[in-house]
């Protein structure tokens, strides 16, 4: 005779590496927050620059820092339908250009009409950004020059252009941190979804009926057995089904027999219910290792299209789960 089944909440089968994985993702979020706030603003100003008169900012100390870099962020403020090429230059204490970078900026707008609908659009790309690292600390000046300014028809303009200039030291490149956060989050999600399929699949059977079962050698000490039952029903199915799940040992002795309620989720197409699906997941510790038969009967039977059973052993879980422990005596 089998001893009575005992139900415990068991955390032994959780995987600490899974939690470590999400801890790393959390670390990336913290790094992103720290990295965003790391830099120190040295200069923030709005200036007007004419095409033939470059603007030179006051001298700034370009420090050699282990973390972050010297960052110049510039935004051109122009009316719509303008093309603009501007250049950022760094000069050393002697006035020699030691670095220059170009931005081809534009702002355009227009109207569209398609299939009787119409509207307007406006797009622009006016921001420039330059990050610089130096081997030694030195004073530099930042110069901003407009090389070319025209409207979209190509007509040259001699008007001044406004720019906002922000200079930061110790700026962190958050593009890498975002990439790291996306990468580690994807790994975490992938791991989360893989847990249902962890372990070794020992029984998999599907029948176009309301009853399904299978037998396999499984169990033993410290071996988590995960039973999945997938039910597909037609649209006449009630919202709840009853599943009678039984386990029989190699002698034919029934060691477990219990009824479970499964909620069905309706599948809709064009607002009409086409079918319904439900699933049941149960965890067992079965000892000793032996041949066990799992059998599920779903009722009411008339609305069931098919049922599928999957049994996995050496399964792992995300969190502590309810486990039914059965000691069969042979």
């Amino acid at each position: 005779m089998a001893s009575p089944a005992q139900i415990h909440r068991v955390g032994r089968y959780t995987d600490p590496f899974f939690h470590l994985l999400w801890l790393i993702t959390g670390g990336m979020i913290a790094a992103l927050i720290i990295g965003t706030g790391w830099g120190k603003t040295l200069l923030s100003t709005t200036v007007r620059v004419t095409p033939d008169q470059p603007y030179t900012c006051p001298p700034i100390e370009l420090r050699s820092n282990a973390i972050g870099a010297f960052r110049a962020d510039v935004e051109a403020i122009v009316p719509t339908n303008r093309w603009l090429t501007y250049e950022l230059q760094l000069k050393d204490a002697q006035g020699q250009v030691i670095l220059s970078a170009l931005k081809q900026a534009w702002a355009e707008s227009g109207t569209w009409s398609e299939e009787g609908e119409s509207g307007s659009w406006a797009e622009n790309d006016l921001l420039a950004g330059l990050d610089v690292r130096a081997g030694k600390t030195e004073p530099v000046t930042l110069t901003l020059a407009v090389l070319d300014y025209s409207d979209t028809s190509g007509q040259e303009l001699e008007q001044p252009v406004s720019f906002t200039i922000t200079v930061t030291e110790g700026a962190v490149d958050t593009r890498y941190l975002w990439a790291g956060l996306v990468g580690t989050t994807l790994l975490g999600l992938l791991a989360s979804f893989s847990f249902g399929k962890s372990g070794r699949l020992v029984i998999q059977r599907r029948t176009p009926d309301s009853e399904v079962g299978g037998r396999a050698i499984l169990g033993g000490a410290k071996n988590l057995v995960r039973v999945y039952l997938y039910i597909k029903a037609d649209r006449s199915a009630p919202p709840n089904l009853t599943v009678q799940l039984s386990i029989t040992d190699s002698n034919g002795t029934e060691i477990y027999n219990n009824h479970h309620t499964v909620n069905l989720q309706q599948q809709k197409s064009d607002g009409k219910v086409t079918s319904a699906r439900g699933q049941l997941c149960k965890f067992f510790e079965l000892a000793p290792r032996d041949s066990y038969k799992f059998y599920a009967i779903v009722s009411p039977a008339n609305s069931i299209d098919n049922t599928k059973i999957q049994v996995r052993e050496k399964s792992r879980t995300l969190w502590p789960v309810e486990v039914t422990t059965i000691q069969a005596s042979l």
């Binding site: 033939d52 370009l62 962020d73 220059s100 330059l130 690292r133």
Partner: protein
């Protein structure tokens, strides 16, 4: 088992992105001829190269219609 591999990959990703982000690997390094790691921000392209310690403006700047012969450094 697979989570151990995932953790190893995640640590590698975190180590690389933290080093590159906080260490500013994509920034321009002053007076260094090779700028292989430069990753432009906001479409801002370098308009010159280093030859030795000297910054040599690139000829691409002369293609602008109202190019003023060396830009602001040389005046007009």
């Amino acid at each position: 088992m697979i989570t151990k591999i995932f953790v190893a990959i995640a640590i590698a990703i975190a180590a690389f992105t933290l080093t590159a982000g906080f260490g500013q690997q994509a920034a321009v390094v002053l007076r260094q001829e090779q700028q292989t790691q430069y990753w432009p921000r906001r479409g801002t392209q370098l308009s010159g190269v280093y030859q030795g310690n000297r910054w040599v403006p690139s000829s691409v700047r002369s293609s602008y219609s109202n190019f003023r012969g060396g830009g602001p450094a040389s005046g007009k």
